[in-house]
Structure formats: C-alpha cells, structure tokens
C-alpha cells in the first residue's frame, strides 16, 4: 500500500526493508499507477499469483509479517493499516484502520527483540493460519487460471478461478480478486453477500489486532 512510503521514510533505517506486494490479478496495469503515485523507495512487487499471500497463509489484504534479522517471524497475519483511514465525509464517513500499528512497528525496528510487540515463536506459530491440502491446491488452480488468462483462454481461466474459490472458501483474496475484474466490481452486491456469509459462519478475515 503506497501509504507505507511515509512510514518507511520516517523509520529511515538502512537495515529495515518493506516489501509491498500488490495482490492484483490485473497486474501492473492496475497496481502500477497506484504504486507510482506514491513514489515509493521500498521494494514493490506486483504479485499476480499471490505468492506472498500463499507463503504466509494470508487470506485477505492488507496482511503482513514482521521478519527479524535471523529470518524468524515475530508478528504475522494482522489487518495491517498504517493509520486510521476515512472514506466519505461527515456522518456518511466510514473509517477503518487504526493508529496503533505504525507506532508498534517503529518500536520493533528500534528495539528489536526487546520490543514489547515481538511475539514468541509459540505465539507466532499459533497465529499462522493452517493451509490444508485443498487450500494449497487452490493456489495451484488460481495460478493455472492466471496462465490461461494471459494466453487468452478465458473460458479455462474462469473454470480454474472458480475451482480456487471452491477449494479455499476462506480466501477473501480469491473472492475479491475474482470480482475486481467484473462490471460489478469488488464491493458490489455479490461481494456483500459473500462477505455476509463469510462472517456469519464465524470466520475471521483479519485476526484480531493484539497490540
């Protein structure tokens, strides 16, 4: 998310990196201009195949992992907002995000293992979502769909995108990605219905923020 550029500049530590991965099947055409508008200096990835989300078992965006100098994850899978955002104005405004995540991140970069926000390996592994055989298979189906799309085989692309959604119904990434490139878009009636079902089944698309 381009707003991370400000955070990156404020931290300004040569031994701290941000990898920002856009999980857009629309690829560079969709994500590129948004990245460019932020003039980012961190590492930018257009992750059409959701390699990052799959590696860390994320089901939604924005999600993140903090990884220390030894390659150990010290926090994972939280709704990752750099600040409180507002859409609209006045009584119609909808707010989301929070103002506690960025200070916690800065504390970790400064203090390392002494930061109160570092979690133990046991806590972290407890917070990593499972990734079953079917969920892994969904990743393979999703990437197959993307290949067919790039080669103009749209009927096959639709078949395998649908397969991915059915194999991993927990993935909001698959639900929304599939809708983003439609007339209705990713926040229309279909999305509201799907997310209503998702929440009513007791599933969490963000782990509760524990800061």
């Amino acid at each position: 998310m381009p707003v991370w550029q400000q955070v990156y500049e404020e931290i300004n530590d040569p031994d701290f990196v941000i990898i920002c991965a856009a999980e857009d099947v629309g690829g560079e055409a969709v994500a590129g201009p948004i990245f460019d508008a932020a003039n980012p200096t961190y590492i930018q990835v257009v992750d059409v195949d959701h390699i990052i989300s799959s590696a860390f078992n994320f089901v939604n965006v924005p999600s993140s992992a903090w990884v220390d100098e030894q390659g150990r994850i010290v926090r994972i899978d939280e709704g990752t907002y750099s600040k409180t955002h507002a859409i609209g104005e006045g009584e119609q405004a909808i707010t989301f995000g929070n103002d506690v995540y960025t200070p916690a991140l800065k504390d970790w970069v400064t203090k390392g293992a002494d930061s109160e926000f570092v979690q133990s390996a046991e806590e972290v592994t407890g917070n990593i979502r499972g990734h079953s055989f079917d969920q892994l298979k969904a990743d393979a189906a999703f990437r197959l769909a993307n290949l067919f799309r790039v080669h103009g085989r749209k009927e096959k692309a639709e078949v395998y995108w649908q397969m991915a959604r059915e194999l991993n119904p927990d993935s909001v990434n698959f639900i929304r990605q599939n809708l983003t490139l439609t007339e209705e878009g990713s926040a229309g009636e279909t999305f509201m219905q799907l997310m209503g079902d998702y929440v009513s089944q007791g599933r969490e698309y963000y782990r509760p923020l524990d800061l």
Binding site: M1, W4, D15, I18, I19, C20, A21, A22, E23, D24, G26, A29, V30, I34, I43, Q44, V45, V46, D49, I51, I52, A55, F56, V61, P62, S63, S64, W66, V67, E69, G71, R72, I73, T80, G112, A121, T125, I128, L136, K137, L144, L147, R149, V150, H151, G152, K154, K156, A157, Y160, R176, T180, L181, T182, E183, E184, G185, S186, A187, E189
Partner: protein, 160 residues
C-alpha cells in the same frame, strides 16, 4: 445495490489467444514460475527428463535420492521409470510422495504444482519465514533468504 468501485472489466480478459508452449510439449507452474518442458513422456503422469527436475523445483538427483536441503526422497522404479529404453522422472508420483497438490489441464498440457508442504514445515514449527521468490517492479528477484540481516515488513495490499 451497493455502489461498486475499483472494477476493471476491460482487464478481465485483455489478452489475445496465444500458444502456451509453442516450442515445448508441456508447461509446469511452480512458485510463480513458468517452466516449459521440451520433452515429456507419454502417459497420465507427467514424465520429465531427470535433468529437468532441478529447474522445476530445486531438487537434485543424488545417489541417496531426490534431495533438497536436508530432505532426500529415496528413488525407485516408480519415480524413475524406463520406457522404451529411455529413463524418465515421474513428477506426478513424486508430488504424491511429497503430498504436493497439483492441478492439471491435460488438454492444454499444463501442470500447476502447489508448494511442497515439507518446505513450509519450519514456519509452523519454529516460526521461520518461508522461502519465496518474487520479481519486483524493477526486475530484481527478491528471495526471503536475501533479507537475512535486515528486519522486514512484508505487507500485501490490493486496489480492490
């Protein structure tokens, strides 16, 4: 109906139909990479030339088996079948041993392999970050291993 936004219907299928592997016999997808195989064996399973194994999934054929890091899978006639005097490596059977899911489109000759679960075991045991390899917008390959010695925030987002 709720107002829709961030829709890109013109980008859903913008591409012209092109051959998937014009100079090969099969395509393998693994970890975001597309590997074209020039030659494959006949049959329901994906039979590859043994020398192609490494460029697909990083496994190396050694006397003790097909090995990656500290993991070695013993070889047998099922994994290394000989057909009409030619030796192949059965990638489908190998995936089965590794409990690695695969989605196949036989008509197109494409095998899409998911991640090998054993490669992720460390993340679930001691919270070590999983291996991944992506290419950034400047064309640089970014690997988890390259980040050693630095703190990293790895964050996903999307336009949706």
């Amino acid at each position: 109906m709720a107002e829709a936004f961030m829709a890109y219907p013109e980008l859903r299928h913008p591409f012209q139909e092109t051959p998937i592997h014009p100079n090969g016999s099969a395509t393998v997808l693994y970890q975001g990479r597309t590997i074209t195989l020039s030659e494959t064996g006949d049959g329901d399973n994906l039979l590859i030339k043994p020398e192609d194994l490494g460029r697909i999934n990083g496994f190396e054929l050694k006397p003790e088996g097909a090995c990656y890091a500290d993991m070695c899978i013993p070889l047998n006639d099922e994994l290394l079948p000989t057909v009409e005097g030619e030796q192949w490596f059965d990638l489908t059977a190998f995936a089965g041993l590794l409990e690695q899911p695969c989605v196949v489109d036989r008509e197109a000759g494409v095998w899409s392999f998911a991640e090998i679960p054993a490669k992720r075991r460390n993340m679930m045991v001691d919270a070590m970050a999983p291996e991944f390899e992506v290419t950034d917008r400047k064309g640089n390959v970014v690997r988890m291993a390259d980040l050693k010695g630095k703190k990293a925030l790895i964050v996903t987002w999307s336009s949706w």
